[in-house]
């Protein structure tokens, strides 16, 4: 029921997550933020089992901040992704595995934008676009069809708006060389359509 999506552009990464915090059949919150800010230019999006998401994400968040305090400079997105993967893998075969699916999005001065897909078995992959949740089944094929590496931010945001599913609202954020920017919160779009003229 939860949904995450990330799309990498030439000099930015666009990420969106739904805003629902549910407990069995009841939506307990409509404005729940699933993005955790690891540093000025890195965001961790986390979905999965109820308590595990916040516990794991906050653990990674605090450790990345500790690194900055100890060494004076921030971890790069690639390093943060690998650190996260290592931790997830270590806990996987322990008494308390964390059942979380993650997207890590960041902008590096040297390497440019990066989007990392991680699942609960701690498989890590750098990808141009990625999604988690039931919505991923629908959107990944559309992304395959219409994604082009050189797309500008505007057309990708439009793309994002088009196939948002029947969830009430989404938080959208953009990471580029200037940091993390909040985009407008997207309301529900019931019938996504994708016509070439709109692109």
């Amino acid at each position: 029921m939860e949904y995450l999506i990330g799309i990498q552009g030439p000099d930015f990464v666009l990420v969106a997550a739904d805003n629902v915090a549910a407990s069995s059949i009841i939506q307990m919150k409509h404005d729940y933020d699933k993005m955790f800010k690891l540093s000025e230019k890195i965001l961790l999006l986390c979905v999965g089992e109820a308590g595990d998401t916040v516990q794991f994400a906050e653990y990674i968040q605090k450790n990345v901040q500790l690194y900055k305090m100890r060494n004076g400079y921030e971890l790069s997105p690639a390093a943060a992704a690998n650190f996260t993967r290592k931790n997830l893998a270590d806990y996987l075969r322990s008494r308390t595995p964390y059942h979380v699916n993650l997207l890590l999005a960041g902008y590096d001065e040297a390497d440019g934008p990066g989007l990392y897909y991680m699942d609960y078995l701690s498989a890590l992959a750098k990808a141009p676009f990625a999604a988690h949740g039931y919505g991923a089944f629908l959107t990944l094929s559309i992304l395959d069809r219409y994604y082009r590496p050189g797309d500008s931010a505007l057309s990708l945001i439009r793309l994002n708006k088009r196939f948002i599913l029947n969830l009430p609202s989404f938080t959208v954020r953009l990471i580029d060389k200037d940091g993390i920017h909040d985009m407008e919160k997207l309301p529900r779009v019931s019938f996504p359509s994708l016509s070439s003229s709109d692109r």
Partner: protein, 385 residues
């Protein structure tokens, strides 16, 4: 624990790590994290290891299944209760029914599901009764220790985080606690301090008359404790600027703008939510429907109380596992106040009476209308006749 030593019972429970566990008052069964000493603020309990752990190789699926809900139901019906909490401009309302059920039996029709933790925090509990009682006591202890160590109360969000952290090691075991922390954040201001003194006088007068205490004792004790701190702070404030006005001291003493009503939900599976309206339990969908409809930030206290009572009543009407009475607490900057427990049976009969009256009125109106129509429309009656 001499028998344990003689039998060598604990040897089978040792972890593969080389660390030794210091004996604490509960014996060796409850491990403490070896890197923390017993006097640290984070002296938490960890669940004992299972005996067969050493021999069993944890595969992915066995460990994931252990962390799933043990009930294997399409949706959770295990919290047989209705509790709710919401904030509004004048504080927090916490309401709950009083039925404790065990499968099909009502174990106790007059249980208390709302427990005060300290003067400005109450917790609504649902889930397993024994677990809730234990964790309430643990939370009360930790809050009190924090208050003594740091000379100020822990915020509601902080208390929720603390409870969530303490429950995390027990995830995957059958601990079932779903607690809603309802309270007021912030230090007492001079204004509230004076009102607390007034309340204290009123309370004494009331107690002399009726012998019933309606206001928390802990509010009084915290007033006494706060008054010492307040005097010191006031002295400093006045020393810095003798011309400071009442308004300024109020701002100086209040919690830096972070005070206000709060409601937080903590669940033993790790979910932790802050919000404006929280309802938990098998009757919560029905309560949510009423609350979503009637809630406004600018409600008066009477409206809020009526809304809470209505929500619990509707939930108990439809849900089999909720019923009997309703408990209502109202928490403001002065502390919590408890309303008398109300029997929902009365509410049900009052509602039935109201419906009956409405039906009678409608019947009368209909007859009147028909009488008028008959008088006017004679031509129609000729045609039909």
């Amino acid at each position: 624990m001499a028998l344990q030593d003689v039998c060598g019972f604990l040897d089978t429970l040792d972890d593969t790590g080389p660390c030794t566990y210091p004996p604490n008052e509960m014996g060796y069964m409850w491990r403490t994290a070896s890197e923390f000493d017993r006097d640290s603020a984070f002296h938490f309990l960890f669940p004992p290891q299972q005996c067969s752990r050493k021999n069993r190789v944890p595969t992915l699926f066995s460990s994931t299944f252990s962390s799933l809900s043990p009930h294997q139901q399409p949706f959770q019906l295990s919290h047989g209760t209705t509790t709710l909490g919401f904030i509004f401009q004048d504080g927090v309302i916490a309401a709950a029914d009083t039925r404790a059920s065990c499968k099909g039996l009502i174990c106790c029709p007059t249980s208390q599901k709302i427990m005060p933790i300290h003067s400005h925090l109450v917790v609504n509990t649902s889930g397993s009764g024994a677990d809730c009682m234990l964790w309430e006591r643990i939370l009360t202890r930790e809050m009190r220790l924090y208050q003594l160590r740091h000379r100020k109360r822990l915020s509601i969000n902080g208390a929720a985080k603390l409870l969530s952290m303490m429950l995390h090691p027990f995830k995957g075991t059958n601990v079932c606690v779903a607690a809603t922390l309802c309270g007021w954040d912030g230090e007492e201001t001079r204004e509230t301090l004076n009102s607390c003194m007034e309340i204290a006088e009123v309370k004494e007068a009331v107690e002399q008359d009726t012998g019933v205490s309606t206001i928390s004792d802990s509010a009084l004790s915290s007033v006494k404790m706060a008054s010492v701190n307040e005097q010191e702070i006031l002295k400093d404030a006045y020393a810095l600027n003798p011309a400071v006005s009442d308004q300024n001291t109020k701002n100086v003493l209040s919690f830096g703008g972070r005070s206000g009503p709060r409601v937080c939900y903590v669940c033993s599976d790790g979910l932790q939510l802050k919000g404006e309206i929280i309802s938990v339990g098998s009757g919560s969908p029905y309560a949510y429907a009423v609350l979503d409809d009637g809630w406004r930030w600018g409600m008066t206290v009477d409206e809020a109380v009526a809304l809470a009572r209505e929500a619990v009543f509707r939930a108990t009407h439809w849900d089999a596992y909720s019923g009997n009475n309703v408990d209502l607490f109202h928490i403001t900057a002065h502390g919590w106040r408890r309303r008398d427990r109300e029997d929902l049976k009365e509410e049900y009969y009052r509602e039935r009476e109201r419906k009956r009256k409405k039906i009678k009125e409608r019947e009368k109106e209909r007859q009147k209308r028909e009488g008028d129509e008959l008088g006017e429309g004679d031509i129609y009656s000729v045609h039909c006749g």
